[in-house]
C-alpha cells in the first residue's frame, strides 16, 4: 500500500484517533466515584417518619430542583410573595435558607456532591450566605 504524503496524513489520523479516544484513556486512568448525596442530617432524623419528605416529590426535585428554586426566587423577590402551595396543598415559606437548608443543613454532602460531579456551579451563593455545615461536614 503506497501512501502519498503518508507521514503527514498518519500524524493527522493519530491526533484524531487520540482525541476521540481521550475520554476512554483518561477515564480508565481516573474513573472517579459516583455521587452519593446524604439526607441524614440531624434535622431530618429528628423528624417523624411521615414528615420526612421534601416540599415536592423526590423524583421531581432530582431532575427539576433548579427550575423550582429559580421560580421560588422570582416569586419571592420579584413578586414579593413568599407563600408556596405544594402539590399536596400545604403552604410553605419560600426561603432557601429557612426552608431548603433547614433540613439539608449539609451543603457539602448534599448540594455539592452532585454539583461537583457534574461540574455545575450554581450561583445561589453569590447572594446567599453559605450555611454552616452540621452533619458530615469537612
Amino acid at each position: 500500500m503506497k501512501l502519498y504524503d503518508g507521514g503527514k496524513i498518519i500524524t493527522g489520523l493519530v491526533i484524531f484517533v487520540g482525541l476521540m479516544l481521550s475520554p476512554f484513556i483518561l477515564g480508565m486512568a481516573k474513573p472517579g466515584e459516583k455521587p452519593d448525596p446524604k439526607t441524614d442530617t440531624p434535622e431530618i432524623q429528628e423528624m417523624e417518619e411521615k414528615d420526612r419528605k421534601c416540599v415536592e416529590p423526590k423524583e421531581f426535585m432530582r431532575t427539576s430542583h433548579m427550575v423550582f428554586i429559580d421560580s421560588w426566587r422570582d416569586q419571592a423577590l420579584r413578586d414579593g410573595d413568599r407563600v408556596y402551595e405544594n402539590s399536596e396543598g400545604k403552604e410553605i415559606d419560600i426561603s432557601l435558607q429557612n426552608t431548603c437548608m433547614k433540613c439539608h443543613s449539609n451543603k457539602k454532602k448534599f448540594c455539592d456532591e452532585c454539583h461537583n460531579y457534574m461540574a455545575v456551579k450554581p450561583y445561589c451563593w453569590d447572594c446567599h450566605i453559605v450555611p454552616e455545615e452540621k452533619e458530615g461536614g469537612v
Partner: protein
C-alpha cells in the same frame, strides 16, 4: 422526495428508540451496545476513508487560486490565496478550517430583466455555516463534562462562557439557540431557493434532520422535559471506563438523543460529513503553488526508455564524421 424520505427516516429512528426503550425496555441495547458500535464504526470508518484518500496520487500542484502567485519582487504576492511556502499553506488552511474563507466568497446569481445576468455578494450561507459549525464544536466540547471524572478547566471555561447570559436555571446556553437557528436557516434556504432545492438529495436532508433532531432532543432534556442528569453521567462514565452500567430512572428522551447521535456517528464515514477530514486533504487548499520553482513528478509515470542525443552521437560518431556531419564532441 429527498426531503420527505429523510424526514420519515429520522422520525422512524426516534420511534425505534422510543419503542425500544419505552416499550421493550432495551436500555442496555440503546445505552451501551449501540453507542459502542457507533464509536467503533466512526473511528474505524473515518480512518479507512482517510487512508483510502491517502492512496490517491496527487500528480500536480493545482494552481486554481484567486490571487497573484509569487513572481517578480515588484509584483505583490497574495500569500494566503496563492501560497508559496508551507507556512503560507498552513495560514490558508487555518483560515479555511476556522473561518470558512472560501465560502466567504459565495455569490448569488440572478437573471434580471433584459435579460441580464447579475451577480451579488451572499454572506448568509457563510454566516449560518460558521455559526452552526462553531456552536456544534462548543456543544461537543461542553458534553465532555459527562466523560471526565475531573472536568477539564477548558471545558468548564467554555461552559461558563456559553451560559454567560445567566438566563434561567439551568442556564441558557447561547450555542443552543445559535445551532437551532442556524440549522433551521440552512434547511429553509435549501428548500426555498429553487436551484438549491433542485440539487438537494436525501444525503443533504438526512444529516440536517439528524442534527436538528439531536439539537431538539438535547434542548428538550435541558430546558423542558428534564431527565436524571447524574444518572446520565454514571452511564457515560461506565462507557468510557469499559464498565458499562445502566442506571435506573433515566428518561426515554435521553435514549432517543443517544440513538440519533449514534446514527450520526455510524453514518458519518459513509457520507458527505467526511468533509471534516476531507478539508485537510483538499489539493486545492493544502498544496503550495510552486510549480514553476519545483519539479513535481507524476507518480504514475512508468519508466520511459529514452535515447538522448548524447548517447546517439556516441553510437554514431564515427559514421557521422565520415559523412561530414558536425558533432558536438570530437
Amino acid at each position: 422526495m429527498g426531503l420527505g424520505f429523510s424526514l420519515v427516516a429520522v422520525l422512524t429512528l426516534v420511534l425505534i428508540a422510543l419503542g425500544g426503550v419505552g416499550g421493550a425496555n432495551l436500555q442496555y441495547l440503546f445505552g451501551v451496545i449501540i453507542p459502542y458500535a457507533a464509536i467503533a464504526t466512526f473511528i474505524v470508518g473515518f480512518t479507512l476513508k482517510v487512508l483510502g484518500w491517502a492512496k490517491v496520487p496527487v500528480p500536480f500542484r493545482i494552481p486554481t487560486t484567486s490571487g497573484q502567485m509569487k513572481s517578480f519582487p515588484w509584483i505583490n504576492h497574495d500569500k494566503f490565496d496563492n501560497p508559496d511556502t508551507t507556512g503560507q499553506v498552513v495560514g490558508r488552511m487555518l483560515l479555511e478550517v476556522l473561518l470558512f474563507r472560501s465560502l466567504f466568497r459565495n455569490t448569488k446569481t440572478e437573471l434580471r430583466d433584459g435579460p441580464r445576468l447579475a451577480y451579488g455578494s451572499d454572506k448568509w450561507l457563510w454566516l449560518a455555516g460558521l455559526a452552526f459549525h462553531w456552536s456544534f464544536l462548543v456543544i461537543v466540547l461542553r458534553h465532555l463534562r459527562f466523560f471526565f471524572a475531573d472536568v477539564p478547566v477548558l471545558v468548564q471555561a467554555i461552559e461558563g462562557l456559553d451560559g454567560f447570559l445567566q438566563v434561567g436555571a439551568p442556564l441558557l446556553y447561547i450555542t443552543d439557540v445559535v445551532i437551532i437557528s442556524a440549522v433551521t436557516y440552512l434547511f429553509i434556504r435549501r428548500v426555498i431557493i429553487p436551484q438549491v432545492r433542485y440539487i438537494s438529495l436525501p444525503a443533504d436532508y438526512f444529516p440536517l434532520f439528524l442534527i436538528l433532531g439531536i439539537a431538539i432532543t438535547g434542548v428538550l432534556m435541558r430546558y423542558f422535559i428534564r431527565i436524571h442528569v447524574v444518572g446520565i453521567k454514571e452511564l457515560a462514565m461506565g462507557l468510557v471506563t469499559l464498565k458499562p452500567v445502566v442506571p435506573e430512572g433515566i428518561g426515554v428522551l435521553f435514549y432517543i438523543h443517544m440513538f440519533i447521535v449514534s446514527t450520526l456517528r455510524m453514518y458519518f464515514p459513509f457520507s458527505k460529513l467526511m468533509h471534516m477530514g476531507g478539508v485537510f486533504l483538499s489539493p486545492t487548499r493544502n498544496l503550495a503553488n510552486n510549480n514553476r520553482r519545483q519539479r513535481h513528478e507524476n507518480p504514475w509515470n512508468y519508466d520511459v526508455k529514452v535515447h538522448t542525443y548524447e548517447a546517439y552521437e556516441d553510437e554514431f560518431r564515427e559514421k557521422m564524421k565520415e559523412s561530414g556531419l558536425p558533432v558536438e564532441k570530437e
